[in-house]
Symmetry: C2
Subunit: 207 residues, 2 copies
């Protein structure tokens, strides 16, 4: 059955060519700059061919971000080895902010847009996914911090803690990707903001 295998291989090949062409446009100029016709031009296929490999533009770019988000998921995996929960929180924040700043358009799609049909994406939301993995890691870390009695005694809800922590770090990235640079603010560096935020949060949450 080498014949169906080859076809599968060819199919995957074209699919990857589409993804690569889309990535080049997307990473630099964002969602709107990726048009079906420009992708098609880049790979010398007709625009409609893309629909044989992806349901629509949204599915294509979501897949792109899911794949490229693996680097974030990996970084999260690595940092899971850090024994000290509080140190791990620091590392998570840093990883997260770095990813957002270095992959602005990926970040925008992953964390700054509403998924229109949530139910459709639920199946892919298992392990290996940067969104779910990141939250899981954060949750575990806070649970351990609670278990090790590092936090103030009234702080017992790991979900609440994780979501507050996430919101703060997300805010740093989100601001960096939108209003950062607007001339009516004397901006400090995102690194400085991150550092102050983490210091403050950890100080505010520990005994």
């Amino acid at each position: 059955m080498g014949i169906t295998e080859r076809r599968e291989r060819e199919r995957l090949n074209i699919r990857n060519k589409i993804l690569d062409a889309a990535r080049e446009l997307f990473a630099v100029d964002g969602y709107d700059a990726v048009t079906m016709r420009r992708i098609a031009d880049a790979i010398d296929y007709s625009p409609t061919t893309i629909y044989l490999y992806f349901k629509d533009k949204d599915a294509l770019i979501r897949e792109l971000c899911r794949i490229d988000g693996a680097s974030l998921a990996e970084a999260f995996q690595k940092v899971a080895a850090e024994a000290n929960p509080l140190q791990r929180l620091r590392a998570i924040a840093k990883i997260y902010v770095d990813f957002g700043i270095q992959h602005p358009n990926h970040y925008r799609l992953l964390f700054m847009t509403t998924r229109l049909n949530e139910a459709e994406y639920l199946p892919e939301m298992g392990h290996g996914n940067p969104e779910t993995d990141g939250y899981e890691l954060l949750l575990n870390t806070f649970n351990q911090a609670i278990a090790q009695q590092l936090l103030l005694p009234h702080l017992v809800d790991a979900h609440l803690l994780a979501q507050a922590f996430w919101a703060s770090v997300h805010g740093i990235v989100a601001i960096h990707l939108t209003i950062y640079g607007d001339p009516w603010v004397e901006w400090r560096s995102s690194e400085a903001i991150t550092e102050l935020t983490i210091d403050t949060l950890l100080r505010g949450v520990t005994r």
Copy 2:
């Protein structure tokens, strides 16, 4: 000269009708749902008439948000009366989050999109503008907190403090307007997240 006055009045009238029609579409369904043709339909004018009153769609909706953002600017004005800087920070955060949750599409445009031609909008960025006013208020508040020696002695940069604070609060809203509700997270209420965040930040920043 009652004639030019009346014309001015009529002109303003139509302008407002455009804004009202646009607001109805925008507030409920967001930027993309506002099309020139739908606005035109709603007010019984041709689509191109709108261009006699606004440079383009972006200018129209930005003006809309500037106007409606006045409620936020006013709320900020009121809270400026609060004497205690730390209490004022609490109030600012609450006002900010409330506005974002109650006017999601306005918030999206004001704080979650990049202004394409920054320079063009600089003139309107004076007083009465929710963005600049809010930041100014935040900055003043931190400066007072520093002056009153309420903060840790090494915290002397009001800009840095304001930006970190803003980022955290913005993150709460931003998450609420995008991934909040995604079923792979056991969400806590935005009020709870806000409260924990403010408590933690204030505890982390004060002596």
